[in-house]
């Protein structure tokens, strides 16, 4: 039985535009192994889906938007040969350059309706009746340069008066929460910080949560489909927290599920932060903050 593997020289598999991916294909076999060719295909694709909500279920099934190819590269590493028993490696190099019309390589991102992925796929073709060996691995692209995060704190006050879309103003219990986000333009690699003080609350609180949302917009001939979904939910307060005590807001952005805010003609990836306060009686109050994510 023979195995094939792609070994990259960078253990974290993070690359930037303009760099060269180096590594080797390693074939291990207990017996000698004949092959017709060893080839490698690298490609980067932004896959877009339309949400069932915005365009009806049927349409979303087959009327999906064509994926956008961002990057492609293929090489043949060897032709017709034989590998003696043991391990054989085929080193390779792939320069990371965007396709002609694409201005730059987007960051790797995995969302619900949009995903940007870069894959390296290798193929060892073998003579008739033998199964070909394939292996696929993903590399992560990050921006080399881009917008910088700033340090402009945003202060907020949440109280019954600040709530806009309540069912009926009268039923809202009295409470007052104030706080501050250290910035609304945040660097992905740094945690989101700030603080929050429950000054008063008539009803006991069950929990205070930070909800990181992605807002994906996919353009289609019929218009734009915009969807907001949750990426992660982090509790910063549990139980009836002490009044007047400043509770830190702290959240680390998840890798891959968040990327610098993207705005292209065909699709947009944006992010929002919700501060959610849940009361013992299941009532919930949520305050929304649009945020911009940057790599730096």
């Amino acid at each position: 039985m023979a195995t094939i593997e792609i070994k990259l020289n960078r253990p974290n598999k993070v690359y930037h535009e303009g760099e060269t991916v180096t590594g080797a294909i390693i074939v291990e076999s207990k017996t000698s192994l004949a092959y017709q060719s060893v080839s490698l295909i690298a490609e980067g694709v932004a896959a877009l889906t339309l949400s069932a909500k915005s365009v009806g279920r049927l349409e979303s099934m087959y009327n999906s938007v064509k994926p956008i190819s961002l990057f492609g590269h293929s090489i043949e590493l060897a032709r017709q040969g034989k590998i003696p028993a043991g391990t054989k490696s085929f080193p390779f190099e792939i320069p990371l350059k965007p396709h002609g019309s694409i201005k730059w390589l987007l960051e790797t991102y995995r969302g619900v309706y949009i995903s940007v992925q870069y894959n390296i796929k290798c193929l060892l073709k073998r003579p008739l009746l033998n199964k070909d060996l394939t292996k696929e691995t993903e590399i992560y692209i990050e921006y080399k340069s881009g917008d910088r995060a700033n340090n402009k704190p945003i202060k907020f006050n949440i109280n019954p008066n600040s709530i806009k879309n309540a069912n009926s103003q009268a039923e809202i219990p009295r409470f007052s929460v104030r706080g501050r986000l250290d910035s609304s333009v945040c660097c992905l690699t740094k945690p989101m910080t700030g603080e929050l003080v429950v000054e008063a609350s008539e009803n006991p609180i069950r929990s205070i949560e930070l909800q990181l949302m992605r807002v994906e917009t996919v353009g289609s001939p019929d218009g734009f489909a915009k969807e907001a979904t949750e990426i992660q939910n982090i509790e910063i307060g549990c139980g009836d927290v002490c009044r007047g005590l400043s509770i830190p807001i702290f959240m680390i952005f998840p890798r891959m599920f968040a990327c610098p805010t993207v705005d292209t003609p065909n699709f947009k990836i944006e992010f929002e932060l919700n501060i959610v306060i849940v009361f013992e009686d299941d009532r919930m109050i949520s305050e929304n903050f649009p945020i911009k994510l940057t790599r730096f």
């Binding site: 949302m213 992660q232 939910n233 982090i234 549990c238 009836d240 927290v241 509770i247």
Partner: protein
């Protein structure tokens, strides 16, 4: 068998002195037989007379023997009582324990292993916080709350399909199923369950199921969210944190194993390989995405050290951040324990960084007011927990945090913390924790201020006595400034007096009695004891607290070295009235007696004043009275050894009459215990000897009356004893002492009485390899007979003859070989009798040689007796039907006696010697080595 006559050899002891000395030096060790029972006085006499050879200077000798009997008077019984093997064993083990404890302390100080103090802390907490209430409750409520949460979260519908989501979903499922399993668990089941989870965790890790082990850890950390069974929370915390620690070290070790050759205490992030950093970052990101706050804090804390792989000092900043995050925990108890874990982690990994400990505490102080809010009060009312016990769930955690704060801290820090405590209301629990955690030096220096603060405090919720108890404990460790001591005691006692609940009162009083006893005189301690009695007496509450009251007694004994002052306190003995059950009172009395003996041993003093003695007598009497016919052997032994020990320590110095009357009183009180009576006789004999020594042998009327009284005392006391060997030994000893004290007739009486008991000794069990006990008693008796002058009314050598009569009349009671050996011994004695000057004398007492001054009649009498005996012996040696070995041994012995004491120049004696030699060799059983030695010494002559 031929008829032989005994011819004694005449010896001039003084002339022979030098010669004898040269020869005897070798033999001395043989002559002084250390194992001869109850004959220490006697053997020392022999030793001195033969070894030092003061035969001619009898005056000198007798005083010497006095002094030796006075000073080195070690009688085996009292020795036994002093060095009871059990007590000595405990004595040995106690210090070693103390040493080990000390070592622990040192380890505690040594910060490298903060784990040791953590262990200590854990051991303290676990047994205190248990519950028999089922934990099922808690689990159910946890499940419910978990479900309730969901609608809240799911408002925004998300069709999540990514991997992480999957995992988190699994995690939820997983935890819920396990939690369901945990339904209806008792406390023990819970502990077992956690332990098995701990194993599963390690297993999963080792089989490369890293995600599973993380899930397990998170699930366990989630258990800490639920604090509904508060009694168990501290223990639960410890169980769970143990698991977290395992997890933390697993993660750390794995990443660390990838950085080769690095010091775990000094990780250089620049040198950490990329792959290791990647793994580390993965772990951290994974944990950072845990949705719930509390598990996130705990799990992050458990791997906080891994941050060091990424960036220098990252660990510290993370700890500070985690600390801040604990503010988001609503339940103050849960939050406090989370802080405790953070301080532990800080102590373990970053002992040098102090700041976060303080912020831990300050954060708690900030949330402190929360405890008095309605929701929590409602909860308590619902669970039927009062505020006091609720607060007691906080104290262990608070103490740990404050221990971390105060560890190697400046006084300024501590003062700052204390002031902070002062600023909030109902602060007694804070004070208590501060006092018990801060260094005793610090507390002692500010004891008065603290005391005042406590007394001012109007905290109705936390009992004052706990604070006072902690304060007392610290003050016992370190002495407060001398000026404040009394004020502190007064202030404290004012508060103590107000405590109504006897349990609380006595718990606290135990500590403060120790304080009083340690730093004050008997006066203050007495007052304190009086107050305790006053508090404990109503409704006979003392019955429930005998253990505590016993501790009080021990405290007083430990800290008051002077027994005089202990017994001066009139409340000390009235204290004993509170031990109503007999067993208890005796136990306490025994403790007192033990302390007394130990104490007197250490200080080398003897008690003599009346109060002490009457107190001790009370104690001893109580011990004595506890012994009855049904008591077991061990109890009797320990009781008598304690009483003997105490009695030997009581000494009136020069007031001999009082001493004697004391002994009389003792005899009356302790008649039930034989060893005590024996000790009393020994003591009285010693007393008499001492008096004789002081008057240098010249008794006045008064002293001679006294020594006679002593003799009478012994004479009366001895018959009450049961053990015949002791009895005989005491008769002999008393006889010797009476003779030394020049009470000839008393001594006669003693010997006579001794003779009347001698037959009881025949069947003493013989120990292998030792001389027959009967024989050794007899030889002891015979050698002391030499000094005893004949009673003119009773005829020549009355005592010896009555002894011989007893022996010969005993018939088959005595083995024939023993009879033979006795006769041979008597032969030696008779030889000694026939000398012009005896080997030893008693000062101021004329022995037979002076009485008869070689009267031919006397000599003829001796010669007649000896001849008779010799023929008896020869008759025995000649007969056939005896054990040949014993026969030849005796023959050899006789031969030795003939050579040593017989007049060898006489022809008949020579012939006799030859015959006896033949007898000794005929069975070829004699000890060859001894024979050769014998022949060699003969040749020398």
């Amino acid at each position: 068998v031929q008829h032989y006559a005994w011819k004694p050899k005449k010896v001039n002891y003084s002339l022979d002195e030098k010669e004898r000395k040269a020869k005897l030096t070798k033999l001395r060790s043989n002559e002084y037989h250390p194992l001869k029972p109850i004959t220490v006085t006697e053997s020392s006499l022999v030793k001195i007379s033969s070894g030092e050879g003061h035969a001619s200077n009898s005056e000198n000798r007798s005083t010497k023997s006095h002094s030796s009997s006075g000073k080195d008077f070690i009688d085996p019984l009292s020795m036994l009582s002093i060095e009871d093997p059990l007590t000595s064993a405990t004595k040995v083990t106690k210090p070693s324990k103390a040493v080990s404890v000390k070592n622990d302390d040192e380890i505690k100080v040594d910060l490298a292993s903060s784990d040791a103090s953590w262990m200590d802390w854990k051991l303290e907490v676990i047994p205190r916080h248990t519950t028999d209430q089922g934990l099922a409750n808690s689990m159910i409520s946890m499940l419910k709350s978990g479900k309730k949460d969901k609608p809240g979260r799911n408002t925004q519908v998300s069709s999540v399909s990514d991997k992480l989501r999957d995992r988190l979903g699994q995690l939820d499922e997983f935890s819920e199923s396990s939690v369901q399993e945990m339904l209806n668990l008792s406390q023990q089941d819970f502990i077992d369950r956690i332990n098995s989870l701990n194993l599963t965790l390690t297993d999963a890790w080792n089989t490369n199921q890293k995600v599973k082990s993380l899930k397990l850890t998170i699930q366990c950390a989630k258990l800490l969210v639920d604090a509904s069974v508060m009694q168990f929370y501290p223990s639960k915390f410890i169980l769970v944190t143990d698991l977290l620690n395992t997890f933390g070290s697993l993660v750390f070790d794995r990443i660390f194993s990838m950085c080769k050759g690095m010091d775990p205490n000094n990780i250089i992030p620049e040198e950490v390989p990329e792959s290791a950093k990647e793994i580390c970052l993965n772990w951290i990101l994974k944990i950072a995405s845990i949705r719930e706050l509390l598990p996130r804090i705990y799990v992050e804390a458990s791997i906080v050290k891994c941050n060091e792989f990424l960036k220098k000092d990252q660990c510290k900043s993370n700890l500070i951040r985690l600390n801040a995050m604990t503010r988001g925990i609503g339940n103050p108890l849960v939050a406090l324990y989370a802080r405790t874990y953070l301080s532990y982690i800080g102590m373990k990994h970053l002992p040098s960084c102090k700041g976060h400990f303080k912020s831990c505490f300050y954060d708690f102080v900030a949330t402190y007011k929360q405890m008095y809010t309605t929701p929590i009060q409602n909860l308590l009312a619902h669970q039927k927990i009062n505020m006091e016990s609720y607060l007691s769930f906080y104290t262990p955690a608070l103490q740990w945090i404050l221990f971390c704060v105060s560890h190697n801290a400046h006084d300024a820090t501590l003062t700052e913390v204390l002031e902070k405590c002062n600023t909030c209301g109902n602060n007694l629990v804070l004070f208590d924790s501060c006092i018990s955690s801060f260094s005793s030096e610090y507390v002692a220096a500010r004891a008065l201020v603290l005391c005042a603060a406590v007394s001012k405090s109007d905290d109705k919720l936390y009992p004052k006595f706990r604070v006072l108890k902690s304060l007392g404990k610290k003050l016992i460790e370190t002495e407060p400034p001398s000026g404040d001591k009394l004020t502190i005691l007064n202030e404290t006692w004012k508060m103590l007096v107000k405590i109504r609940n006897p349990i609380d009162y006595i718990n606290c009083a135990v500590v403060w009695v120790e304080y009083a006893a340690k730093y004050f005189t008997h006066k203050e301690t007495n007052t304190v004891l009086a107050d305790i009695i006053k508090h404990m007496t109503p409704d006979r509450v003392y019955e429930k607290f005998s253990a505590e009251l016993q501790t009080v007694v021990v405290c007083v004994l430990t800290h008051m070295p002077d027994f005089r002052s202990i017994f001066t306190m009139d409340k000390f003995l009235s204290f004993f009235d509170m031990f109503q059950k007999d067993g208890q009172r005796v136990t306490v009395c025994k403790i007192v007696a033990e302390y007394f003996i130990k104490n007197q041993d250490e200080t080398n003093q003897n008690a003599s004043d009346a109060t002490t003695i009457s107190g001790l007598m009370y104690i001893c009497r109580t011990i004595h009275d506890s012994i009855n016919a049904l008591s077991i052997e061990d109890d009797i032994t320990s009781a008598s050894s304690l009483i003997c020990g105490v009695l030997l320590k009581i000494n009136f110095g020069k007031d001999f009459e009082q001493q004697l009357s004391f002994y009389v009183e003792c005899r009356a009180s302790f008649s039930g215990l034989d060893p005590v009576c024996a000790t009393l006789v020994h003591s009285v004999n010693q007393l008499s000897g001492e008096v004789t020594k002081i008057v240098k042998g010249k008794h006045t009327r008064k002293t001679s009356a006294f020594v006679r009284a002593c003799a009478a005392y012994s004479f009366i006391t001895i018959p009450s004893l049961l053990d015949s060997a002791t009895k005989f030994g005491l008769y002999l000893e008393s006889g010797q002492i009476a003779l030394i004290s020049q009470c000839v007739s008393q001594s006669d009486a003693m010997y006579k009485a001794g003779l009347s008991t001698i037959m009881d000794l025949v069947n003493l069990p013989a120990k292998p390899s030792l001389e027959n006990p009967f024989l050794s008693h007899v030889s002891n008796f015979l050698s002391s007979l030499l000094t005893v002058p004949d009673n003119t009314e009773q005829g020549v050598l009355f005592l010896l003859r009555s002894f011989l009569n007893i022996i010969s009349e005993s018939g088959s009671q005595i083995r024939p070989d023993i009879t033979c050996a006795i006769y041979i011994k008597v032969l030696s004695l008779l030889t000694a009798y026939s000398q012009d000057q005896y080997l030893y004398h008693v000062y101021k007492v004329d022995s037979n040689e002076d009485l008869y001054s070689n009267d031919p009649k006397f000599l003829a009498e001796i010669s007649q007796i000896s001849t008779t005996l010799l023929n008896e012996v020869l008759g025995y040696l000649g007969s056939d039907n005896k054990d040949p070995k014993l026969q030849s041994l005796n023959a050899f012995y006789l031969f030795q006696v003939i050579i040593a004491h017989g007049e060898i120049s006489d022809e008949k004696m020579q012939r006799l010697a030859v015959v006896v030699w033949g007898l000794s060799q005929q069975h070829a059983q004699a000890n060859t080595k001894a024979t050769i030695q014998m022949l060699a010494s003969l040749k020398k002559k």
